[in-house]
């Protein structure tokens, strides 16, 4: 892989039909969950900052199907998709957003601190770039223990401006650790565009190259493309060849934080958003599978219904769950 290489190389690495259905299902689940959150947010029961990932579902979907339960994922503030795609418990996620004791972090974390050890989702945290080094440390442990385990770290374009991002990549490279750095470049950091933040025309993937690892910039709205690059990176990691860097070009549809539309803020244009909505990763993929004869109308309806039911059940579970008791406040400051 080399930097700047924008397209998929080998049809040979195209996932098989079953895998592609799994990818599609993953995207549908994330999309419907996020839409539900947006719809319910106004009720005022989700009382924490919430960053939705609609429009960016292809990245985690394309990658997660390559991972086993033992592989680990780390994320940042925009983590719902990464969590669900890795197999995170949807009930526990909704309960967490709703601040209930049945949440994956017993309500203590909220949307920004998802975790599910059972599926290898090892934590998300909203301080930019901060979980990148944690993921590297996790890969270090895996290597020391000779475990066949890959760690994936997701982060945004903005996170690559933090120094610790570089420190983490450097260490991973020196020690040839089984970690894959996945940058979801959605062109914005809150309301700030790329040009005020990073050198013009320099792909972020070049930073990976500079730290001595195979790095690529690719279409993050095409799950097959992401999957192909990730497959190579995972293979490298499992073979002990060290880290890889994948920059996925994508776009967030919703406002930075919250359930709304932020076009009135004026930092991006309605046209730009419309262009990217046309490149809807979910629609593109569904159409592609349909065209390839891998997805019939009934199967699609099934997938949609299953996901819709799962989301509805999770919402009901969350709403029916109790809040943590007062005694919980002082529990878990120190492990016992």
């Amino acid at each position: 892989m080399t930097t700047q290489q924008k397209d998929i190389r080998a049809a040979a690495v195209l996932p098989d039909a079953k895998t592609r259905l799994a990818v599609l299902e993953s995207m549908i689940r994330v999309r419907l969950a996020e839409e539900a959150i947006a719809a319910l947010y106004g009720e005022g029961e989700i009382r924490c900052p919430t960053h939705l990932c609609i429009g960016q579902e292809a990245v985690a979907a394309g990658i997660s199907v390559l991972l086993s339960r033992d592989d680990l994922v780390f994320s940042g503030h925009r983590s719902h998709g990464h969590y669900l795609a890795k197999g995170g418990d949807m009930n526990a996620m909704f309960a967490e957003l709703y601040g209930r004791v049945t949440g994956c972090a017993r309500g203590k974390g909220g949307s920004q601190h998802l975790v599910d050890l059972a599926c290898g989702f090892m934590g998300a945290a909203p301080i930019l770039s901060s979980t990148i080094s944690v993921g590297v440390g996790s890969a270090w442990a895996a290597k020391l223990d000779r475990r066949d385990q890959v760690s994936i770290v997701y982060f945004g374009d903005g996170a690559t401006e933090e120094g610790t991002f570089h420190e983490a990549l450097n260490f991973a490279s020196v020690h040839k650790l089984p970690v894959i750095f996945v940058c979801e470049n959605n062109l914005y950091s809150v309301h700030s565009a790329m040009d005020i933040r990073q050198p013009e025309g320099r792909p972020i993937a070049l930073l990976g190259t500079a730290h001595g690892m195979p790095s690529v910039t690719c279409d993050g709205n095409d799950a097959d493309v992401v999957h192909a690059h990730a497959a190579e990176a995972v293979a490298r990691a499992r073979a002990g060849e060290g880290p890889s860097f994948i920059e996925c070009m994508t776009y967030r549809w919703m406002e930075h934080c919250g359930p709304g539309d932020d076009i009135p803020l004026g930092y991006r244009t309605a046209e730009e958003l419309a262009d990217w909505r046309i490149r809807d990763p979910l629609a593109i993929y569904r159409d592609r599978l349909a065209a390839a004869g891998e997805l019939g109308a009934a199967a699609e309806a099934d997938l949609m219904k299953k996901a819709r039911d799962e989301v509805a059940a999770a919402v009901a579970f969350a709403k029916a769950s109790p809040y943590p008791e007062a005694a919980e406040l002082s529990e878990h400051v120190f492990p016992v």
Binding site: G103, K108, G109, I127, G163, T164, S189, G258, L329, V333
Partner: protein, 351 residues
Amino acid sequence: MVRQLKYFEALHEAHRELLADDPNVLVAGLGVPGPTGIFGTTKGLQEEFGPERVIDTPSSENAMTGIALGAAIQGKRPILVHMRVDFALLSMEPVVNQAAKWHYMYGGVMRAPLTIRMIIGRGWGQGPQHSQSLQSWFAHVPGLKVVMPTRPYDAKGMLIAAVRDDAPVIFLEHRWLYNLEGPVPEGLYTSPLEGAEVLHQGSDVTIAATSHMTIEALRAADLLAAAGVSAEVIDLRCLTPIDGDTLAASLAKTGHLVVADTGQASYGVVAEVMAVAMKRAFPYLKAAPQSVALPHIPTPTTPALADLFYPDATDIAQAALDTLGSSAQLPKPAADRRWKDTPDPSFTGPY
């Protein structure tokens, strides 16, 4: 009558007048020129003063601090803004080792007139990593001036004083003060960067508070008045140092002390105020002082626990009664809202 402005408007006006007054003033920070402009405090400044003097930055809190320092030693007067003190944790090295010490360690030849604005305290569901109040950290470091304006008047006056001061100033704003209204004159006046202020006279107990807790303390004084107790409320305002004169004068009257801070009590402002009270007013103290601050627990996100985590006016008033050994009853708080996680119902974000 003096014009009334909200806290965020007072800050906004201070920026505008400073930028207009001195071409060396710069404003930098992630989102500073953006459409929401740091909760309105920097909105429109780039349009008015140009993209050179009012800049957005990469998320590089560490280097941006060094960069502001570098500009400052060249005569600029940068205001660096962090949306959260939690993010500024990435910049402790340049703040503590560098900015705080450049004047001293170069024998006085360097000056670093740098102002760092940081937002502290609870927003709304902000949880463990977006709500800390680390004022005692900064105040512990020689070479930094640390202020926590409570009223809109001081927000503007202290920002102007901070920018004009030749020392690095840490300027801490509590998120829940932004909508607070108060009298704010036009023009470039200053509030001092040292010294507390008595906001409410009283004779039975002294409540020394910082930032948003001063507002709670004023409410507590009302609750106490209803219970027949006369509380004096001191807005500590400036932390370097704690104003021992004002504190001692008040304790000479009351002999009883409650300290209320927005941060953790242990190793925090509460402890420092206690130490100053011991040193300056030991003979006046009639009972062990009380503290009202955060427990030694990370911030929980769910409102069910956050409501228990954050103390408020009732807790302060009860602490006052406790130090007085009084069994007076406080008025029951109106249970008007399900959750206490917003300062008032008008608080609608952005958070």
